[in-house]
């Protein structure tokens, strides 16, 4: 893989939500990584919104 553009609208993802999701999998996110993970996760959530808006999952 490599870089991809950010052409979809991002949706906010909080550090608390990420930490909770990680904990459920036995993962403790290293604190220094949280802002970058949250940014990437927000972009990914925007991807999901785009897919659903296009009819995916119906």
């Amino acid at each position: 893989m490599s870089g991809t553009p950010t052409e979809v609208a991002s949706a906010e993802v909080s550090a608390a939500e990420l930490a909770k999701r990680a904990e459920a999998r036995g993962i403790a996110i290293l604190p220094a990584a949280l802002p970058a993970v949250a940014k990437g996760a927000a972009w990914l959530r925007g991807c999901v919104a785009l897919i659903r808006a296009a009819g995916g999952g119906k």
Binding site: M1, G3, T4, A41, G56
Partner: protein, 453 residues
Amino acid sequence: MNLADLTIAEAGRGLRSGAIGAVALTEAHLARIAERDPHYRAFVTVTGEAALADAVRADAELAAGQDRGPLHGIPVALKDLIDTAGVRTSCGSRLRAGHAPTEDARVVKGLRMAGAVLIGKVATYEFALVGPSFDLPFAPARNPWNTDHITGGSSSGSAAAVAGGLVRTAIGTDTGGSIRSPACYCGIVGLKPTRERLSREGVFPLSPSLDHVGPLSASVEEAALTLDALSDAGAATRLGETLDGKRIGYARDWFAADPHTHPAALRALDDAASTLSLLGARIEEVQLPDYALFEAVGAVIIQAEALEVHAEWLARRPEEYGALAYRNLLTGLVLEPTDVVAAHAMAGELTRRIDTEMFGPFDALLTINTLGPALPLSAFDGVTSVWTHMRTLPFNVTGHPVLALPAGFVDGLPLGLQLIGRRGDEAGLCAIGDAFERATDHSAQHPPLPRAG
């Protein structure tokens, strides 16, 4: 002429006539690696002794009339994501820095059956994810056209090794463009075959639904010969065909208005469309489904599947990842199972549309590869993600074969295009690519020799 500069076909003729030997050919490539790779850092492991043993065997077999085909006696490099029995397969990661598999990957077994000389393992972004990284045991590979620039990835070493003249062909993997974007940035040919054409058994997975294995090579012919040694694709069987009557859809609107598209890249693509037209093909502009939707689908599938692959290590050994891979992998935490189901459903719909709307009327599609030349390494700090814009991911989603070809230069750095073919039609794709390559001089260009010191 240095033997390392012979094409696979030229070397093959020499090996069969007795004019050259596989040992001498391998020694020439090993000398080239020793001379140039300190500048390129393409190789993470050079298997010189084993390669020479392979070469001795190839010489003996050819002398005895046992011909294993076009790769017999030809040095080949392998991305360090591909298992090699008894030889370190690091995946570019501290987590696997000491890992030596007990068995060869299926594709490596195929290369051995084809009589290839396995000359070493070449660099990859960590677990084929993101890069370049500067906090790993292995330094990033450098672009032979300008060693201050990135190679692209994740098949970074495969591309640098071929572009730098260290080998004529190498094996890489492609989940979102990892064969094609480094091929583009390094000015060589990349062939992502139809999904399932080459086995992924023994190749460390990034996203099992989208992973592909394929060659990065110095020319279309050499990519086709490499694929044919490993499959029944027959990719080299139609080289030299005329393009008269071929219909090619030009997906120009996927990139022409994108502000990230370098003007020289747009000109190179328009020139390529003109060249293909002059060669006899009928070019029509086409509208593909929305690129952003393809990208969204691919990203959701990759991040969900990659997280599953790495979940246990992320829990138990997080500090052993490089910063970029660690941060990238964890983004998948945000996804719900229903999101992934929706992405797969949309992938199926997009694939159906490409098959019916495009590969009814057209023999191939033409579009851009990366939207500009390779960025300088100084643009990357190894911690912050830097997007490198490209149009590769859709055909991991659909599984169609894609040939990445050089299409021009800007500021001394290569630009490139993609030709997308019908499912299973690597032969038709290579015929078009071969005609384009012969009509242009892009693939005939070589990087400057590395500076001493």
